[in-house]
Amino acid sequence: MNEEFLKCRLGFIGNSDGSAYVSQCKTTVAVSVVGPFEPKSSKCLYDRGTVDVTFRRKTGSITVHDKMLEGIMQSTCEEALIVEQYPRTSIAVTVQEMQDRGNLLATCLNASCLALMDSGISMHHLFAAISCAITDSEEIILNPDELQINSSVAYFTLVFSSSESRQLLTSHTTGKFSHSIYLQCMDKCFAATREVFSFYENMIKKQLIYC
């Protein structure tokens, strides 16, 4: 994992409270965080804040499948935030796809995490998503490109938290696979997330120079 692979700009959307522009390989997404703000009374919970993730395709319309991705992002983000600190409020996260060349879900999740960090909203933990593909010969490719995904027999997106112990937050898989190869992928992806977290740290360092 290096700067070549993950690129990020923080706080580029002036009107939002936090934003991140992330490109991973060639897949690019923009995430903005607004809030906490006062929501409609129907969404208002007395003891915690609500998190609302909206996923937008560049074409504007989204499909049933995108709705599932949106759900995954929402519950992953919600779990990471200390929502109890923001009662009766809502936090809106908008994920805009700019270019999709594979690993979309992982990029979206990492970008959301960076945008949430930028917004200064209190978090329990950070999260990092890693995708990996398994070839016919049972080879594991981390962060595969579009071609490798299409020719793979299985393809996973795994999300781990930044806690020192191994905590799997989200798992999304496609294709057929055996249990043992899944465990191998978990090990590899978990190791890879540590690099993502150090990338996060570097981003914050850069950002704070001006502070």
Binding site: I62, T63, V64
Partner: protein, 280 residues
């Protein structure tokens, strides 16, 4: 493929393969028609007999009350929920509202139905609501609404009357206060012959256009037996005015029969509940 935000949808302009077996269907209808002229029905029933009624209450455990009713091949499920606040309401109302939804499952009819509500569902929903509204003590939950939902799993004729009977049972199962039990039944009239509880094919026959002056069509009546009140009456077809008293009387008699079945189901329910309570 048209992108639909909510569901996976196929191409437009699909045709059910049964259309290419239309001749077979027509022969079947002709057969039923000729049999009916001899007062014989395709399922072996007497023309004045109901199909078997199978009642199960309380099967939707997540709802306040529910009833599953099977009448021949017609199968449907009705559930009711607790009174809740009417969204976006400003004024206070002295009577509660019934919020009804009448939905056919996509596979419930000969032709695949759409997900969105069509005009038939709307019409049935209106009639359905009007039929059960007089039976519910709406003053007891003023300013609130009770949701009554019907899902038709299979349509083999007399859907509306079966749905109303099911709603009566579901409301009772949910212990929603009611002035009376509500039951409904329907008739099909084909060439002056009166058919009790018509099937889908018989309904099609009764409503198909003919030149002659003979009576034909369908009649549906919802009735509160103890209070002797008709809550909903609808008719379609071409009928002589003088026949109406006969139809109405026949439907009332049928409703009394169904009411007995419904009542015994209700009583079994109550006994079952209180017995299980005493053994606890």
């Amino acid at each position: 493929m048209p992108t639909n935000l909510y569901r996976f949808q196929g191409p437009e302009g699909t045709i059910p393969y049964q259309h290419y077996l239309i001749d077979k269907n027509n022969t079947k209808l002709t057969k039923i028609a000729t049999a009916l002229m001899k007062n014989e029905r395709c399922d072996g029933r007497d023309i004045s007999a109901h199909r078997n009624l199978c009642i199960k209450t309380g099967i939707v455990t997540q709802a306040k009350g529910s009833a599953y009713v099977e009448k021949g091949h017609t199968k449907l499920l009705c559930s009711v929920f607790d009174p809740k606040e009417v969204p976006n309401k400003v004024e206070y109302a002295k009577t509660g509202e019934l919020q009804c939804e009448f939905k056919f499952a996509t596979f419930s009819c000969r032709q695949r139905r759409n997900y969105t509500r069509d005009s038939e569902e709307r019409q049935l929903c209106n009639e359905f609501r009007r039929a059960i509204e007089p039976a519910v003590c709406r003053g007891e939950f003023a300013n609130f609404e009770i949701q009554v939902n019907v899902l038709v799993l299979e349509n083999d004729g007399s859907v509306l009357s079966t749905a109303i009977t099911a709603a009566g049972l579901a409301l009772m199962d949910g212990c929603i206060p009611m002035y009376d039990m509500i039951v409904a039944s329907s008739l099909g009239i084909f060439k002056n012959t009166i058919l009790v509880d018509p099937t889908y094919d018989e309904e099609t026959l009764c409503l198909s256009w003919t030149e002659d002056e003979e009576n034909r069509g369908t009649v549906m009546l919802a009735y509160m037996v103890s209070l002797e009140q008709i809550t909903e009456f609808s008719q379609n077809g071409s009928m002589d005015i003088n026949m109406f008293p006969e139809y109405v009387q026949l439907l009332i008699d049928q409703n009394c029969k169904i009411n007995k079945l419904v009542q015994s189901a209700a009583i079994t329910d109550v006994i079952g509940h209180f017995e299980s309570q005493t053994t606890d």
